[in-house]
């Protein structure tokens, strides 16, 4: 074995992000000290990002089986059956750390990575959604003025998705001070596959050939995987040279070439090279198949000169894939890649002994059992402790908050709050139509995309509320599932499956680990009751800077199926005279609400309770009514409560319409108008359908409240007979549409890194 590079010592291992115990474990597994190259392999594969060492055991609690699941967690993406011989690949991933260091390229390469996860499965990407979190727009780091983080991230997503040609059809953007130095960039991708044509990341068949395809390898992002497994401190900027630049053009060629090569039947297995690059693919693919690999690194196409084995194995250059091709059929695959002007180079063989052997210049530079890198990676049951501060923040006395004197002004204020306001100035920068499948474009509760040739469609939404999770992580996890599913239901989709991205602080802190475990338990519980299996996801830890963690933020993406695409529903009112009806309990709570945060600057209380059985009934009732064709609009009540949901019903459609609504009952005025609670959906129903609607929803035993009627040019809300809100359509539209426009609209300062002109 050749010891290229410095001598390996325990200190060097620690500098690689491994603990001393982990280093001893490596020596135990190898029966000797690792070479420098081998240390690089272990440090990357045993990083939190690749090994899930802090979360693996807990994630097993997530239910992943269901009648439609064709592929659960463990592959590059999950796959569900859509019928008609079609299957849907789905996966969400975070690119939080790279996006903080370089927002444009960080977000762009995040899109690139999730697209590859989808097309390695053999799927053609159908759409993207992006869930983003930033500090408040007036915070210097978010810098709406400089457009720096927010503008950079949005431009990066637009650059990559638009150039590649996959529509970005939805997502969400939220703001809170806790994200100022740790923005979140989570991207979800869906892809379509013929049911029997699913590819997997397995190196099957001793003697088969590993073929490297795509972009050449440079010194990009070496240690990206360990970077994503550390918190930020003052020296983080010194590690900046690791930033990768994405090339969506090459990715597009890679997509077409991979799908065409897959059609030859010569490809046995395929995996993208993402975090930890070649090292990851060369160990995970054989590990999944119980095989080994013999690799000649000299053959790897290289962009820079004099690269070492360590660098070649750990480089995170983008737009690359590793294929396993049936021995003797290499030329068929190479021909396809030549047509697309991409490299396709055999770099080694599948072996039967379970060992990864890497040679360079004829010398052995690494010889490691693949299981040592993968299955034998440490798994920790990290200490967990309920945070001492939790009771204090949950204790909230509403009496300390004055009731609003002018509820109309509060409504307009909330409509203009960055988390609630229209994000049109973001999504008009995204091509959300390419592929001509987008039946419901961004701006409603869920996007709807048709499945050409079937009459069916899929609905998809992402959701997550860091404030709820902060105040009650179990409920925050469960609410994320409930809300994403509710949004899909509001569009007329029957939830099929979900994927989750769990964004937390450092797992080495017991209180963060407690939040994480609670959130996973909450998600698991909601999945069981709502019968939505988890088919994959992602965990992003270490979202903290100088000990200040983000709000715990589980983001959930739910996909639903519409048996009849023509039954799709949007959130806005459509016809004057239609009845406005609330499904679910009208009561809302102030705990953790947007109202409390935006108007009173407080993050406190307990979120309104989530009764999963009730949630299930409300969703079932709404869906049944939509499928029966007696609902003209359906909108979930989320941030800002009932009043904001009604206002959005008025102003978000192509034709703004007013409404007249009356509320009766008990409770504080602000809680009734702006309080938040799960399991509430505002629908509009044509008067002639009222009887049929009531008959359908009665079967599900959910509370139904007739609120009023659509019509006029203002939203009037009477509470106990007294007009409390009277807001004109123009005022609401200006508040809702104008505020964000000013932040990101128009020509922002040109980030030097914007892509090709």
């Amino acid at each position: 074995m050749t010891a290229a590079g410095p001598k390996v010592t325990p200190d060097l291992a620690v500098a690689h992000g491994l603990s001393r115990e982990e280093y001893d474990r490596i020596i135990g597994l190898l029966g000797r000290e690792p070479t420098y190259t081998e240390l690089g392999l272990f440090s990357a594969l045993w990083s939190e990002h690749c090994s899930y060492k802090s979360s693996r055991t807990l994630l097993k609690r997530l239910p992943s089986r269901g009648p439609h699941v064709l592929q659960g967690p463990g592959e590059n993406a999950g796959v569900v059956d859509l019928g008609d011989g079609l299957a849907l690949a789905m996966k969400i991933e975070s690119h939080n750390h790279p996006s903080f260091i370089e927002p444009f390229q960080g977000a762009a390469t995040g899109v690139g990575g999730i697209l590859r996860d989808i097309f390695t499965m053999g799927a053609r990407p159908l759409c993207l959604l992006d869930s983003l979190r930033f500090g408040p727009p007036d915070h210097p780091a978010t810098g709406a003025g400089s457009g720096y983080l927010l503008g950079g991230v949005v431009a990066g997503i637009a650059h990559y998705g638009n150039c590649f040609g996959c529509p970005t059809v939805g997502g969400e953007v939220g703001f809170a001070p806790e994200y100022a130095k740790n923005p979140l960039v989570n991207v979800l991708c869906l892809g379509l596959i013929a049911r029997g044509r699913i590819f997997r990341a397995r190196a099957e068949g001793v003697g088969n050939t590993f073929i490297y395809v795509g972009a050449k390898t440079g010194r990009d992002g070496i240690h990206g995987a360990t970077m994503a497994s550390e918190s930020f401190d003052e020296t983080s900027s010194e590690r900046r040279p690791t930033v990768q630049v994405g090339d969506p053009f090459t990715e597009k060629l890679l997509l077409e070439a991979c799908l065409e090569a897959m059609a030859t039947g010569a490809i046995v297995g395929i995996q993208d090279m993402g975090a930890a690059g070649l090292a990851c693919s060369l160990s995970e693919m054989p590990a999944r198949a119980g095989t080994g690999a013999e690799i000649e690194l000299d053959r790897v196409p290289q962009r820079e000169s004099a690269m070492t084995p360590y660098e070649l194995l750990l480089s995170e250059s983008q737009e690359r894939m590793l294929l396993v091709v049936t021995r003797g059929r290499e030329a068929e695959v190479q021909r396809v890649f030549a047509k697309w002007e991409l490299d396709a180079v055999p770099i080694g063989r599948v072996t039967g002994d379970g060992v990864l052997r890497v040679r360079m210049h004829g010398e052995l530079v690494a010889e490691v059992p693949v299981r040592a890198l993968t299955d034998d990676a440490p798994a920790y049951d990290r200490p967990r402790a309920r945070p001492a501060w939790l009771d204090a923040v949950r204790a909230f006395d509403p009496a300390t908050v004055p009731e609003p004197a002018d509820p109309t002004a509060v409504l307009l204020h909330l409509l203009a709050a960055p988390t609630i306001a229209s994000k049109a100035s973001i999504w008009r920068q995204y091509d959300h139509m390419v592929g001509i499948n987008t039946l419901v474009v961004p701006g409603s509760d869920a996007a709807v995309l048709r499945l050409k040739g079937t009459g069916k469609a899929v609905a998809v939404a992402t959701d997550g509320n860091g404030r709820y999770a902060y105040l009650d992580p179990f409920q925050g996890g469960a609410m994320a599932v409930a809300e994403a599913a509710r949004n899909v239901v509001c569009a007329g989709g029957r939830p099929l499956a979900m994927t989750d991205c769990l964004n937390f602080g450092s797992p080495e802190r017991p209180e963060i680990m407690w939040q994480f475990a609670e959130a996973v338990n909450g998600i698991a519980e909601a999945c069981r009751v709502l019968e939505i299996p988890v088919v994959g996801g992602n965990v992003s830890f270490y979202n903290e800077t100088l000990g200040q963690a983000i709000l715990p933020t589980p983001i959930v993406g739910v996909v639903g199926l519409l048996a009849d695409a023509e039954r799709r529903t949007t959130q806005w009112f459509k016809e004057p005279g239609d009845l406005v009806i609330l499904l679910g309990d009208p009561a809302g709570g102030l705990g953790g609400s947007e109202y409390l945060a935006t108007l009173h600057g407080r993050l406190a209380g307990t979120p309104a309770p989530l009764d999963l059985a009730r949630e299930r009934a409300v969703q079932a009732a709404c869906l049944a009514a939509i499928e029966a064709g007696c609902v003209r609009s359906a909108h979930d009540c989320a941030e800002g409560g009932l009043a904001v949901a009604l206002a959005e019903g008025c102003v978000t459609g192509p034709r703004p319409l007013g409404a007249e609504v009356a509320l009766d009952g008990a409770g504080r005025l602000d809680a009734r108008l702006f309080g938040e609670a799960p399991s509430r959906i505002v629908v509009s129903v044509p008067p002639g359908e009222r009887v049929r609607f009531e008959r359908i929803v009665r079967e599900w035993a959910v509370p139904v409240t007739a609120l009023g009627r659509v019509g006029g040019d203002q939203l009037t809300i009477r509470v106990d007979g007294q007009v409390r809100i009277a807001a004109s359509l123009a005022a609401m539209a200006a508040a809702f549409g104008g505020s964000f426009e000013r932040l990101v609209g128009g020509a922002t300062a040109p980030a030097a890194t914007e892509g090709a002109a």
Binding site: A155, A158, N162, C163, F164, G165, D247, P248, F249, T250, K252, L253, W340, E341, W427, R428, Q429, Y430, D431, H432, M433, V434, G435, I436, T438, L439, R450, K452, G453, A565, E566, G746, A747, T748, P750, A756, A757
Partner: protein, 237 residues
């Protein structure tokens, strides 16, 4: 009618045009690769949208020098028709098959939105079935769609009736507010002198089915098919 849809490295509206031509219009359609130069089996070629060659250097610049584009002048001279949308329009301008060029949007951002265009010219095969002043609703999706030509050249285009579409309001008024990218004279599409090559920034293929919001894009194809029935599909070749 035999359509060809050209694929350059980085093209992405190819499948969308293919879908509309075969599934909505039920016409014969084939893909062509950017290296193909035998165009004799086609009546009409479509240069679709996308980011050919990543839009690197200038949008459409590299594709504008590809073999298939080099074969277009001959194809056109023999009576062939060419429609370029979005990146296809940029390519045709770069190849000097259409006058002018497309620059970065004035807002410096990509824009994906619904636009309305008013029909200025009904002498092309793609607009023959339309009325002058008719308003069409078609989306745009581009970062470099600001039409530019030297003032004298633009004047000449207007005089020779080569401006085919202009951005307008829903009711057909040509206003600055209706101009999504800062195009000179609100130009959204132009033709060559004969009207046999037409380029436009909007996406007719995304406006060809009611379920996606508009069927106005189909009118371009229907005009074309009508004109071919009239002229016969051999196009005099």
């Amino acid at each position: 009618m035999r359509f060809g849809v050209v694929i350059f490295p980085g093209t992405w509206s190819d499948m969308d045009f293919h879908h509309v031509i075969s599934e909505v219009l039920h016409q014969s359609v084939e893909y062509l690769w950017h290296r193909d130069t035998d165009l004799s089996r086609f009546d009409c070629l479509v240069l679709p949208g996308g980011f050919s060659y990543g839009d690197y250097l200038r949008a459409g610049a590299i594709a504008g020098r590809s073999p298939v584009v080099s074969a277009l002048p001959d194809f056109v001279a023999r009576g062939g028709l060419v429609l370029g949308s979005c990146n296809g329009f940029q390519i045709l301008c770069e190849a000097e098959l259409l006058p002018g060029t497309l620059l970065r949007n004035e807002c410096l951002q990509f824009r994906c939105q619904t636009t309305h265009v008013v029909v200025e010219q009904t002498e092309t095969p793609f607009t023959r079935g339309l009325r002058r002043g008719q308003v069409l609703k078609m989306p745009i999706a581009h970062g470099e769609g600001r039409y530019h030509a030297e003032p004298a050249i633009l004047r000449a285009l207007i005089d020779r009736n080569q401006v085919v579409f202009r951005y307008a309001t829903e009711t057909g008024e040509v206003t600055a507010a209706a101009n999504p990218n800062g195009s000179a004279w609100n130009v959204a599409g132009v033709s060559n002198e004969d009207g046999t090559v037409v380029g436009l920034m909007p996406h007719p293929e995304r406006a060809s089915e009611a379920s996606v919001g508009s069927t106005d894009g189909l009118l371009l194809f229907n005009s074309l098919l009508g004109s071919l029935v009239e002229n016969g599909s051999a196009l005099g070749r």
